[in-house]
Symmetry: C2
Subunit: 373 residues, 2 copies
């Protein structure tokens, strides 16, 4: 019987830890009184799982590791979540911390098709972080979006993504927007030699996002953005698997589940479901993620993990151009810098400000790679 | 400009409440420095939203009501979530409490197709709560599931649902299971006159769940179960809209987001996305939801709300048969009682135990409806 290992934090004292641990195990497996399972040999021998570890955690509470049978978890990408943290998410005082997969489950989840190396090959960018900016705010018309797109591309940005509020709006319909922005980056590439990639945001029901991706791909788009928690992770999985030649940037919207360790959800699960790069709220920006959480997310995205390709961390959320050196230094070269508002604030000086960003990235890389380690 | 009103709780003191409120508003609308929006008249006038209320909350912190433009929220069922609590879910110290929709957004979200009245008409059950039990634990073979199904049907259960861990397993493939269980309830109905409904669980990627529902419907199934948070709410929405003649029971798996009020997520959003009945963890069972939270969920599911049909509350999670009177008394007649383990524990006496449950429901109804109110 192959097991996956799920690690939880139990906010419990010594008197109740064992009882809580048993109830979480029951919840994530047979979900019936144990006597019932005894009547069915297959259930008794194959479906019950076990408590691997229950030990006091550093900082209080208990660390609980469950060994969970993969008969159910491996059957489809919704059941994997269900077994990992389905009903358990409803238990108070419980946090999902980590997961380890056996080989059969890795076969079900091949992960990113591009990852860091593939996205570098696709964009032709080596030896430095990639740069990314955003077409925003929502409400701009096609001409306004195309202008931003051209200036970002001329300024040397690698990935020009839609704002996550851009969908199939009457004032900038998805297909018209993709055509305009894709034409713009192609025209700029032909003129300047710098090939920026336009990254449209996919949004809607599963049928809508499949149609959007089909259209974008036919228009020449090679990188798209989607929010796995808005669409649902099984929908994201299907999107990724059905379009092997398009890279996917995952957006964290609706991904704030306080009972899941951020690095597990954004760093490990998004990667497992196929994200080639994952946006997260950087420290010191509009959000309040501590620096250590951000380091944890980046490290988890890039950590060796069976045959699952490493994915790019994309720190974002109110980053200032002036912080380029610090961010590159903190996250290293295998990073995508996403800076939106701090460029857009420049208004008529957007092109200069964008060039300043790409110059700062080049200088930061030169300083970091020549300084003694 | 039509607005939707989102209510949040800010865990903030008087010194920072205003700043936090502004940052949440910015996050859920233009997501760029305010100066940028001023340059574009449409963005400035149509996309910025406003703070409607910011006032100290009972019990501490602040109650924040934002008026959010529906240009984005109404464009598709993923964007509605995105505008309501997308990036905001990543903010610490913030809880989503409620939402109010203008007419244009109600047009996008017609809600349940059956609801309480429709599900009563479909099952032919009036004047009492419906009863529901579960085919579990996962790991049973087809013969074992069919036996349970027959005994539940003979015992008078109305809805016989799959365990939420039942998917397309090799040991009980979805299509074989649906055929066997559906045959069983039909054969029992012909023999006994009591028409139970078999309720298969849908699980997988969007393509898989659509195929499963097509198959189930062709086999005569009229009620299915799905977990909106596992599949993704936009996938659940599409499933509901595409199959107008099949009722949907929503399962709460993966729905434990501690930063969303349970009655809003399970009671209001699941209903808005089309659930005809919603399962939730009842007080005094395997989970630790307080009684007041359960009452809030049930009341929210049944509250008058524009043209959105009321949906059935389905309290569940380790309920004992002996609690029937108390549960019916607490939740009232427009309830579905879901009791699994407490029946299955009876083993060879399952039929008697099931009849005990349906008798207890009848007696509880008689007592409640004849007692002075």
């Amino acid at each position: 019987m192959e097991l996956l290992y799920a690690t939880y934090h139990l906010d419990a004292g010594p008197a109740e830890a064992e009882v809580h641990a048993r109830s979480v195990l029951l919840e994530q497996t047979i979900e019936t009184p144990e006597g019932v399972a005894q009547r069915y040999p297959f259930v008794r021998d194959q479906m019950q799982g076990q408590i691997e570890t229950l030990a006091p955690a550093v900082g209080g509470g208990y660390r609980l590791v469950l060994g969970l049978p993969i008969h159910t978890a491996a059957v489809d990408p919704a059941q994997f979540l269900n077994v990992l943290f389905g009903n358990a998410s409803l238990h108070a005082h419980l946090t999902l911390e980590d997961v380890t997969l056996p080989p059969a489950l890795h076969a079900r989840f091949p992960g990113p098709r591009f990852g860091i190396d593939g996205l570098r090959a696709l964009t032709g960018v080596t030896g430095r972080p990639l740069t990314c900016s955003a077409l925003k705010p929502v409400g701009l018309r096609l001409d306004e979006l195309a202008t931003l797109c051209r200036l970002f591309a001329e300024g040397g940005i690698d990935l020009i993504k839609d704002d996550h509020y851009l969908a199939d709006h009457p004032f900038c319909p998805f297909e018209d927007r993709v055509r305009r922005c894709q034409d713009t980056v192609e025209e700029t590439a032909a003129r300047t030699g710098h090939r920026a990639h336009y990254v449209p945001n996919l949004s809607g029901t599963p049928d809508q996002v499949h149609r959007q991706l089909d259209f974008a791909r036919a228009a020449g788009v090679r990188v798209v953005m989607a929010a796995p928690m808005l669409l649902g992770l099984p929908c994201f999985y299907e999107l990724v698997r059905r379009h092997p030649d398009v890279a996917v940037l995952a957006h964290p919207s609706f991904g704030g589940m306080p009972n899941i360790r951020p690095a597990l959800l954004l760093g490990k699960l998004f990667r497992l479901y196929g994200a080639d790069a994952v946006i997260f709220a950087n420290y010191g920006g509009r959000f309040s993620y501590p620096q250590a959480v951000c380091a944890d997310i980046a490290a988890t995205l890039r950590a060796p993990w069976a045959a699952v390709r490493p994915a790019f961390p994309v720190p974002a959320g109110g980053m200032q151009v002036e912080r380029t050196r610090e961010i590159v230094s903190f996250f290293g070269l295998d990073t995508i810098l996403l800076i939106g508002g701090s460029l857009l604030e420049a208004g008529p000086h957007l092109l200069d400000r964008t060039r300043e960003l790409t110059d700062r990235v080049a200088r930061a890389v030169a300083e970091i790679t020549t300084s003694p380690s």
